[in-house]
């Protein structure tokens, strides 16, 4: 059935502005017409969008889908539902499943699962090293032939610099993007929170900022040496932003991402041992947070990525030191950034769309989504005057574990069209 979205403001990607317009989506999911006072096509459903914004679907570069292997945390179906619920219409699946996606055959079976269970585009990534063990190169060519969009051992770093070098050299032949989590295992050890005042007060082992910074500097250096394309996941410190900025200045092929959590929260939020704030990398200082926001605004940080890493509430109910790292993010990234950064006028929708819709697609070689006649309809209806109460039953993910659980955020996602 065709649908008429009436009285909304539509993001015009050429004008870079919200333009008042009606919009018709055909039965086949194509944007048929845009304009003011469109008549209702016969039999069409009319959706009143008065006061609402129609925004291109977001694209998340960093999602742990958990299937196959950890279906109790999330399935591809629940992950897709959560994405749609959060205004995300495309994403990259991390390969840290059981088994890890490290061969062409495993990519194929993941793609089969995706086509069976997901209504949205879920692109596969493949491991850098076999089994994510950091010992041997994974089967790049088989995975490349199956269409992976990046190589990553996401969630674990490649400890040996020589192996990472070989990975990058080899990946370059396939023009595959190498994506790394940035962590120096030997410094992080059993750390649970940022090392500093809070780790001292809580008596928890700390993760020093330099654990990420050394890894970033090392990985950038290897990328410079090899000429490979590098994407850095989950930047969390002011010095990390500086390193990326310096690397870009000299023309290094490097991009990086930041999560909504690191843009909005700090180590102070961990006081009280709430494991919903236990992230990897950990939440840092207010000065780091401000540097990340600044880096996003000045373009040093290319994209926002949720690092959607669901763990069940039961798993997260362990003591802070033992609880797993990571929280869900697909359903809270748009809302929390609207509430914390767009509403107070710190960043614009333009930057948000650039960082969470356009650039992440470009990084994995996809065209940005536009709300234009003749294009596939991929957008969400956002009510800036609305409010969203993030109660447990709001969530579509199987693991409603997030720092924002129980909070009420400004703005509401009314509908996602995909």
């Amino acid at each position: 059935m065709a649908r008429l979205f009436q009285n909304g403001k539509v993001w015009d990607s050429d004008e870079k502005a919200m333009v008042p317009s009606d919009l018709v989506v055909s039965d086949a999911g194509v944007i048929e017409s845009l304009g003011s006072n469109l008549s209702v096509p016969e039999g069409a459903e009319v959706i009143d969008c008065d006061g609402c914004l129609l925004i291109p679907g977001m694209f998340d570069l960093h999602v742990h889908g958990r299937e196959p292997g950890d279906e109790h945390k999330e399935t591809l179906a629940s992950c897709a539902e959560a994405a749609i619920h959060g205004g995300v219409t495309g994403l990259v699946l991390m390969p840290d499943t059981s088994p890890p996606i490290d061969s062409g055959n495993l990519v194929k079976s993941l793609q089969d699962l995706v086509s069976e269970y997901s209504a949205i585009s879920m692109l596969p990534s493949g491991c850098l090293t076999k089994g994510r063990k950091g010992e041997q190169l994974a089967g790049f060519s088989g995975m490349a032939n199956r269409g992976i969009v990046m190589l990553t051992d996401s969630g674990s770093s490649v400890p040996c610099p020589d192996l990472l070098r070989r990975c990058m050299e080899y990946a370059k032949d396939f023009d595959l993007l190498v994506t790394t989590s940035c962590d120096t295992t030997a410094l992080t050890k059993a750390g649970a929170v940022n090392e500093g005042k809070v780790s001292y007060q809580l008596g928890l082992p700390g993760i020093p900022a330099m654990s990420q910074e050394i890894a970033i500097d090392r990985n950038i250096r290897i990328a410079q040496h090899t000429g490979a394309r590098l994407h850095l996941q989950q930047i969390s410190t002011a010095n990390a932003v500086k390193s990326v900025s310096c690397a870009k200045e000299v023309g290094t092929r490097v991009t990086c991402e930041v999560s909504a959590h690191h843009l909005l929260l700090t180590e102070e939020d961990v006081v009280g041992y709430n494991t919903h704030f236990k992230l990897a990398p950990p939440l840092r200082l207010e000065t780091d947070r401000l540097a990340l926001v600044e880096g996003l605004i000045n373009g040093t940080i290319d994209v926002i990525a949720s690092n959607h890493a669901p763990h069940t509430e039961f798993e997260k109910s362990a003591d802070f030191g033992s609880a797993p790292f990571g929280v869900s993010g697909l359903e809270t990234t748009v809302l929390s950034i609207f509430d914390g950064l767009i509403c107070p006028g710190i960043i614009s929708w333009e930057l948000m769309i650039e960082c969470y819709s356009n650039r992440p697609r470009l990084i994995v070689g996809r065209d940005p989504v536009k709300i234009k006649e003749g294009e596939k309809a991929e957008f969400f209806v956002f009510d800036p005057e609305g409010e969203t109460e993030l109660k447990r039953d709001y969530f579509k993910t199987k693991s409603p574990v997030t720092p924002f659980l129980g909070k009420t955020l400004k703005g509401a996602i009314r509908k996602t069209v995909v």
Partner: protein, 312 residues
Amino acid sequence: MSELKPRKDLLDIESLTLDEIEYVLENAVPFKQLFQRSVKKVPTLRGKTVLNLFYEPSTRTSSSFEVAANRMSADVTNFSVSASSVVKGESLLDTIETLQAMRSDYIVIRHQAAGVPGIVAQHTRASVLNAGDGYHAHPTQALLDAMTFREVYPDFRGRKVVIVGDVLHSRVARSTSTLFNKLGIEVGVLGPGSLIPEGRHGFMQRFGSWDEVFDWKPDAVYLLRVQMERQEGQFFPSVSEYHKMYGMHSTRVQRMRELGCYLMHPGPVNRGVEITDEAMGYEKSLISTQVENGIAVRMAVLHWLKPETQLD
């Protein structure tokens, strides 16, 4: 003193008000006087049950709580979990279920993971007494230290204590320094850079050597136990170097004697590491007073906390 709000749990020092601290420390005094009598028992907690739950090996703290509870006429159950059956984080909630079913009125808990007593407290109606959690807190140790210090220095405000050793891995350093600071006692620290964390409380000034410490004229030196079992990394080159740099030996005892400075230690001591045999005999050592006061303070805490089980 204003009327105190009833408190269910004792989890850390940070959350205590000055009134509450005074209340506990003042009540500990008559409990201690009781120890001089032939009958050392009061009927205060008759019919109540205390569960002593130790996930980490401990003889001293565990028996101190047991003696305290016995002297209050409570029924005590000791539940120690052997080090080999390390309790996985996942089963914590199940364990709490079990504890809740035992319907104890007080749960004394020591756990290797910081924050566990707080989780237990949230899920049970019993009063939870933190007997040490990871590197986080050891509130009854801090209270007994304060009681001990105040006995020898009734004019304790503005006095100075230097804490020596492994502050990084010490819940005692965290709790005791916080409490001393709340009471207006100045706190300094001495130890190798690798064991004195950058993020420590701002009120703890750091000294570079014993000479600097003695120039500061401390009223007490508080030696921490060198946590041999927690030195997973290489925090100092050798025990003998540690002893040479930071240990208490006769020369330093002599300096303390000249200053009239007291010696404290949370026990158990590593003889030959943080302190020599001869220094153990220092006449102004408060180490055994600390042990005795530990029982009195724990009785005062049991007396003070109000379990929600009493609402039934």
